[in-house]
Every structure is written in structure tokens, then in C-alpha cells.
């Protein structure tokens, strides 16, 4: 499928070794459009919006950030730690600015499950509905986050 020059540029920036060591697409063999479409469908099916998910993730991020590396409780049975780093990383979509590096670990004490995401992840979800490719360290499965955060129908 032919791509516009803008799409080409975004894909180049998502490759490993350009903005971050592992890139944004993990080991996912699917094209970007398909990843976005599939996640969009999943989010729609759960009865939530990207904005709502991003807002909750951002709230967790801010709560964890104020604790400077200490674990904080962020909801029922959930705790988060923000491991900050000093650098900045640009968004793969050009012109969206730079974002703080570092990662937030959100742990569900009930299931023992943890997910990892970054301030850039929150922006990408909000602005593009992009949850990163499968196999990426910061890949968030919409159904999983909704279940953890108690959003949408998954929480029922």
C-alpha cells in the first residue's frame, strides 16, 4: 500500500534505534494502520474513549510523580511507581514536542499483574489512539487497562 510522506516519516521515527532503543512497534508484523484500527475497535467495543483512558493514565502518572519514586496507592488494589529519568523524547509524530523520559509501573495487587507506560504513551493514546505495537515494552492492551482501571464495560 502506498503511503503519504507524512506516514512514512512517522513510521521511520517509530523504528528501533531512532527515538528509543526498541522503537514503538515491538515485534508486531502488522502495519500501523491496522494496529490503530484494531485498537480503536477494541476501545469502541469496551464503551470507552481514548481520551478517557488517557485521562486516567495521566491521573496515575501525576499521583506517582509527586511521590518521586515511592510507590503510591492509586485506586482499588492498585499502586504505581514513577521511575523518572532526566532526558526528553520526541513524539514519533513530528511537531508534537518532547516528553519526559522515565516509566510508570502500575501494579494490580489483586492479580499481581503490572503494566508499564511513559508520559509519551499517555500523549500517544490521547492524540492518536496509539497503544504501541505488540511486543513493545510499553504496549498497553486496551481491555487490560480498562479492567485494571475499572473503565467501561470490562469493569462489570
Amino acid at each position: 500500500m502506498k503511503r503519504t510522506p507524512d506516514e512514512e516519516r512517522v513510521l521511520e521515527r517509530m523504528a528501533p534505534g531512532v527515538l528509543s532503543r526498541d522503537g514503538f512497534l515491538g515485534a508486531d508484523p502488522r502495519p500501523l494502520n491496522e494496529i490503530l484500527a484494531t485498537d480503536q475497535a477494541e476501545v469502541d467495543g469496551l464503551g470507552v474513549t481514548h481520551a478517557a483512558i488517557a485521562a486516567r493514565l495521566r491521573a496515575v502518572l501525576l499521583a506517582a510523580r509527586d511521590a518521586f519514586g515511592r510507590s503510591v496507592p492509586v485506586g482499588e488494589g492498585l499502586s504505581a511507581v514513577y521511575h523518572e529519568a532526566m532526558g526528553r523524547i520526541p513524539s514519533p509524530w513530528p511537531g508534537e514536542g518532547v516528553f519526559p523520559k522515565g516509566e510508570i509501573e502500575l501494579a494490580d495487587q489483586r492479580s499481581g499483574h503490572t503494566i508499564c507506560y511513559t508520559p509519551l504513551s499517555v500523549h500517544l493514546i490521547e492524540a492518536h489512539g496509539f497503544y504501541e505495537g505488540r511486543g513493545s515494552r510499553y504496549r498497553l492492551e486496551p481491555s487490560e487497562i480498562c479492567r485494571m482501571l475499572g473503565l467501561g464495560e470490562a469493569s462489570a
Binding site: 500500500m1 502506498k2 503511503r3 503519504t4 510522506p5 507524512d6 494502520n33 484500527a37 475497535a41
Partner: protein, 214 residues
């Protein structure tokens, strides 16, 4: 019904206009002949890229159409008559010319006008293999326009312009559809092809209005 004559009297302005009309609307290279679909399907999402690509296609089609018509008339046909070279050689020669012209055009545009280069220069590599351009060259040979270079140029321009109108129309429709509900299975290429089909159906209404057989 617009009647016309087979080019008996050569190139009157009226006849040239007829060629333009035919190439652009009634025999639209994309909606009637279904050529140039792949970049049409993928680049028609944004109006800005669609216009950029459309203008690039018009440029390239017009220039290569004229060049290839001349080449056909003054090189391939004589070679065929004197040496028995098959006319099918046009396929190779046309494609080589298209590739070369695109390269040249890219360099020229970058040199002459940087803003124009930024607007559409990036699309040029995309259209080298656009089958609509080769198609336009082959059709003009089929319809005999190579005998008169003015007619050939007009036909090529019309083909390119018709392609551009189609992609810009599609981009406009798709931007309007952005926030509408489309079933998952039809999103992307699916709905685009359906829309293309519906527009093409409308264009069938034009068929037979202008006949340009020579």
C-alpha cells in the same frame, strides 16, 4: 449528444476542447478505465496530499504524454515500417521515458521553486509507477492522437486532470466521512472502493456523449 467528426480537418479549437472534455470526464482514466487506483486509494485520505499528488500527476502525464507521442510518431512507427520492429516496444520505451522524466522534473522543480518542491516534489517518486500515466500514453496511441502532437498533449493533460479531479473529489468525500460510522470490515479500502464505484456509476452517464474514434 455532442456529435463530432473523426479528425478530418485537423486541430480546430473545438476539437481540442472535445478531446479535453472526453479525457477529463467521459473517459476519465480512473473512474471509467480504472487505472491509477493504488495511490488513489491510499493518498485520498487528506485533501492536502490529494491535491499535491494530483498536481504532480497532471504535470507528469502532460509532459510524458507529449514526449511519448512524439517518440512513437518519429521513432517507433518508422522503426516498425522499415525494420519490422514490433509496435509493442512502446511499453518499454514509454516506461523508461516516464521514469526519466519524473527524475528530471524532480531536479528541475527543486532548483526552480523550492516551495513548489516542498508542496509536490515529495510525491514524484510515488507516481513513477502509477499505471494511469502509462495508461494515458498507451491510450493516446490507441486513439491515434500521436499523429498530432497538440492533440496528444491535450489528451494527456485531460487524462491527468481527470485523475486529479477524481482523487480530490474522493479526498473531499472521505474527509466528510471521517466522523461517520462505518462498519469495521469496510473501513479504509473497503468504503473507498464502494464510493469509487458509486462515482464511476455516475460517470457512466457520460458514456457515449463524446466519441473520438479516429
Amino acid at each position: 449528444m455532442i456529435a463530432q467528426t473523426a479528425g478530418a480537418e485537423g486541430t480546430s479549437l473545438g476539437y481540442l476542447m472535445l478531446i479535453l472534455l472526453s479525457a477529463t470526464f467521459t473517459d476519465n482514466i480512473l473512474l471509467t478505465r480504472f487505472l491509477g487506483m493504488c495511490s488513489f486509494l491510499s493518498i485520498s485520505q487528506q485533501l492536502k496530499s490529494a491535491v499535491g499528488l494530483g498536481v504532480a500527476v497532471v504535470f507528469v502525464t502532460t509532459i510524458t504524454g507529449a514526449l511519448n507521442a512524439a517518440l512513437y510518431k518519429y521513432a517507433i512507427v518508422p522503426a516498425n515500417e522499415h525494420f519490422g520492429v514490433p509496435l509493442g516496444l512502446q511499453f518499454i520505451v514509454f516506461i523508461v521515458v516516464i521514469a526519466g522524466v519524473v527524475q528530471l522534473l524532480e531536479m528541475l522543480i527543486e532548483r526552480v521553486s523550492l516551495s513548489l518542491y516542498y508542496a509536490l516534489g515529495i510525491f514524484l517518486p510515488l507516481i513513477t509507477v502509477n499505471c494511469a500515466i502509462l495508461g494515458a500514453c498507451l491510450f493516446l496511441v490507441n486513439l491515434g492522437f500521436h499523429r498530432n502532437l497538440l492533440e496528444a498533449t491535450m489528451f494527456s493533460f485531460g487524462s491527468g486532470f481527470g485523475w486529479m479531479l477524481a482523487i480530490v473529489a474522493m479526498a473531499g468525500i472521505r474527509s466528510k466521512l471521517k466522523n461517520q460510522y462505518i462498519p469495521l470490515g469496510l473501513q479504509g479500502p473497503g468504503i473507498t472502493l464502494i464510493i469509487t464505484g458509486i462515482i464511476a456509476l455516475a460517470f457512466i452517464g457520460f458514456s457515449g456523449m463524446v466519441q473520438l474514434a479516429k
